[in-house]
Amino acid sequence: MPYPPPTMSTPKKKAAPKKKELVKRATFDPEQRVVAITGAYSFMGAELIKRLERDRRYYKVLAVDVRKPTFPLHKTQFHKVDLTLPTADADLAAIWKREGVDTVVHAAFLSSPTHAAAWAHELESIGTMHVLNAAAECQVRKLVVWSQTIVYGAHPLNPNFLTEEHPLRGDASRSRYVKDKVEAEKQVQRFRKENTDTIVTTLRTAATLGPTIRNFATRFFARPMAPTLMGYDPLMQFVHERDAVDAFALAVDHDYPGEFNVVGEGVLPYSTILAMMGKVPLPMPHFLAYPLSQALWATQVFDSPPNFLDFLRFLCVADGAKARRVMGFTPRWDIKTTIQDFLGLSAPVAQVVEGGV
């Protein structure tokens, strides 16, 4: 049996890092890497762990979350750390130092807005601060952070394709959910400036669809009806769940410092997407839709904050050219096949083998 790697099974190895306590930074051995993943229970974290479990270049994976992943773990250690607790950074730093972590993947973000705004702020903004503190303390070699293209915000002045250099205007929308993500991104940008030795990769995924992922977009498009704003029909883009995980695996495998938009090929108008999915559009004038949405959100009837209507009104489409050029990330699903795969209408484009355990 090739797995787990021979070096892992002996208890001698556990003592080994203790000798290295004086060395601040773990020596980087490309064949024996230790990866820590926060948000291991989330889709992105869990899928990434599944891939790293199969990859012999990775010696150990540290899964950090409040819930243990449900699939069997072989070379993955689970550590229960609540990022909202005030001492989370010290806990993380202690674990990571002990295990000699060289790469940290920060995926502990919410994938859909919540009414528990205070808790969400603690998790996303303060949690990111804890992770960055711990990463700075351990001097990790690489940090990969998950973000979303909604941080650009749906703004009337957006060009058709938002590049990575575009200012993050998501916080102008007064949506707590987007604001927390923008705050997290700004902290990461500051971290990048202060810790020049660390390779910092930010992956901004577009709305992710697929047969197994569950997030705001899949819930929105699973309903039989969808609201539309009368007269507005912006272009939208998606990324397939497998492609998104591919991008994370690429960023963990190789070193690509910088921010990257992880988006699928092609755009479609919102109305066409609804027609392809067979949804019944619910047209509403925008001046009525905003207060109505506000009321439904305030009474907790509906799960999308009123500011999300901006995304049904203005453009928020990101340009994936940089990821294609620098990372060599080529999405295997375009927007049409992504939608078809989401609906279960066609077989996946490529044989997917990396997800299984």
């Binding site: 957006n158 590049t163 479609l268 066409t272 609804l274 027609a275 067979g278 925008h286």
Partner: protein
């Protein structure tokens, strides 16, 4: 018995028939119930027999059987009044089922027969297996019938564009009778920046330039007009402009298009051009901040100065109301001889005769290089040059023109 009459005479309960029938039913409740128990078995057996016989047979046979069954059961039953002491002997055996439950059972059976005609048939079999999937598929086909599932990256939908084409054709050939000159100045391939004067309250001029080059130019090139924010974010209008090829006027979008070697049409007068009063017609407004010059210098694109004559008279705007318009979010409300006097009809454009002249391309990049885009004073000077060039083209066209409506 009474139930049969309800369904037989007036299946949806719209007439007077049910009332006496219901009364009778109350009176004969016990009899009908006992009778129903006896009759139910025979009736359902007969119905199922009919069904089983029908199923394997061919279509025309089944049709014939269906109609037979209907005549046999319902028509005579409706004609005959219910007897007081149970079913009469004269009644045909098929109509023996009595009571509402039986009636509904029979009806259900015949309806099922009609909806799901044969289990062996191709379509019937599919429909029986996936009734909702089938409906869902049909609904999606219906929703997608006049749109394309592939749009270009700026949102031009070929199917929607094809549907608007006849309207543009009518406007171009019959309504405005556009005549073009200087089409040879537009390159057959490679990038180009068409710079034109803007007017007309609604952006007809962009559509006419687009249509003219697509149909009259030797290479049938596509032009992507840049649409200013006010129009682009106007409900319905902006969406339509986007589907037929319009692009939001942003420097990033224009650069991307030019780097793809496309033709881009810009109207540097912008919103000031659209909102020109009638007395200001054919007097070019300030050319923005010279963004189009920067584009041309950066992307090495030739500028093709273009004059549109005729468009500035389609909506002779006498004045504009701004205070009212601001409150609903538009820059101004036009006042023309017909609008708002005649309501929406007043928004019909005047059928003027149009001339579109394309001038010689200006290659500023060869002269000043891409770094010239950072020289503000140079950019403004070049913008003014282009403006004067277009103004003189307009003036010479106006001199030739004798009539607004007939050219």
């Amino acid at each position: 018995m009474a139930g049969k009459q309800i369904l037989g005479d007036d299946p949806f309960g719209t007439g007077d028939a049910p009332a006496p029938a219901a009364k009778k039913k109350k009176e004969k409740k016990i009899e009908s119930e006992t009778a129903a128990e006896n009759a139910a078995e025979s009736a359902s057996a007969a119905a199922s027999e009919v069904a089983h016989e029908a199923a394997p047979e061919a279509d025309e046979d089944r049709d014939a059987l269906d109609s037979d069954g209907e005549n046999g059961t319902y028509a005579p039953a409706a004609a005959q009044p219910p007897s007081e002491y149970g079913p009469s002997i004269d009644q045909p055996p098929v109509a023996k089922h009595s009571g509402l439950v039986d009636e509904i059972k029979h009806l259900e059976h015949s309806v099922r027969e009609r909806i799901l005609p044969a289990r062996s048939g191709e379509h019937g079999g599919e429909r029986q297996r996936l009734p909702l999937e089938f409906l869902w598929k049909r609904w999606r086909e219906l929703a997608m019938r006049d749109r394309s599932d592939v749009v270009d990256e700026f949102g031009r939908d070929p199917n929607v564009a094809a549907r608007v084409e006849p309207l543009l054709d009518f406007l171009y050939r019959q309504y405005f009778r556009v005549s073009t000159r200087g089409l040879g100045h537009i390159p057959d391939d490679g990038r180009g920046l068409i710079v034109a004067n803007h007017s007309g309250t609604l952006p007809y001029d962009g559509a006419m330039i687009m249509y003219g080059i697509r149909h009259e130019h030797s290479a049938h090139r596509e032009v992507r007009p840049l649409v200013e924010d006010f129009v682009f974010h106007f409900p319905y209008l902006g969406t339509l402009m986007n589907r037929i090829g319009g692009v939001r006027a942003a420097p990033e979008n224009a650069e991307r298009l030019l780097n793809q070697d496309q033709l881009v049409a810009v109207f540097p007068e912008g919103i000031k051009g659209i909102g020109k009063l009638f007395r200001e017609r054919y007097q070019l407004q300030r050319f923005g901040r010279g963004g189009f010059i920067k584009l041309a210098l950066k992307c090495d694109a030739p500028i093709i100065p273009t004059a549109v004559v005729g468009a500035e008279e389609i909506h002779p705007m006498l004045s504009k109301i701004t205070w009212l318009a601001r409150s609903v979010g538009i820059p101004y409300l036009p006042v023309t001889p017909t609008f708002p006097l005649l309501g929406p009809i007043g928004l019909l454009p005047l059928p003027t005769k149009w001339f579109i002249a394309f001038g010689e391309p200006l290659y500023y990049n060869a002269e000043y290089g891409p770094e010239g885009a950072n020289d503000r004073i140079l950019v403004n000077k070049l913008a003014e040059q282009v403006r004067n060039k277009i103004q003189s083209m307009i003036d010479s066209l106006l001199k030739e023109r004798r009539s607004i409506l007939f050219g």
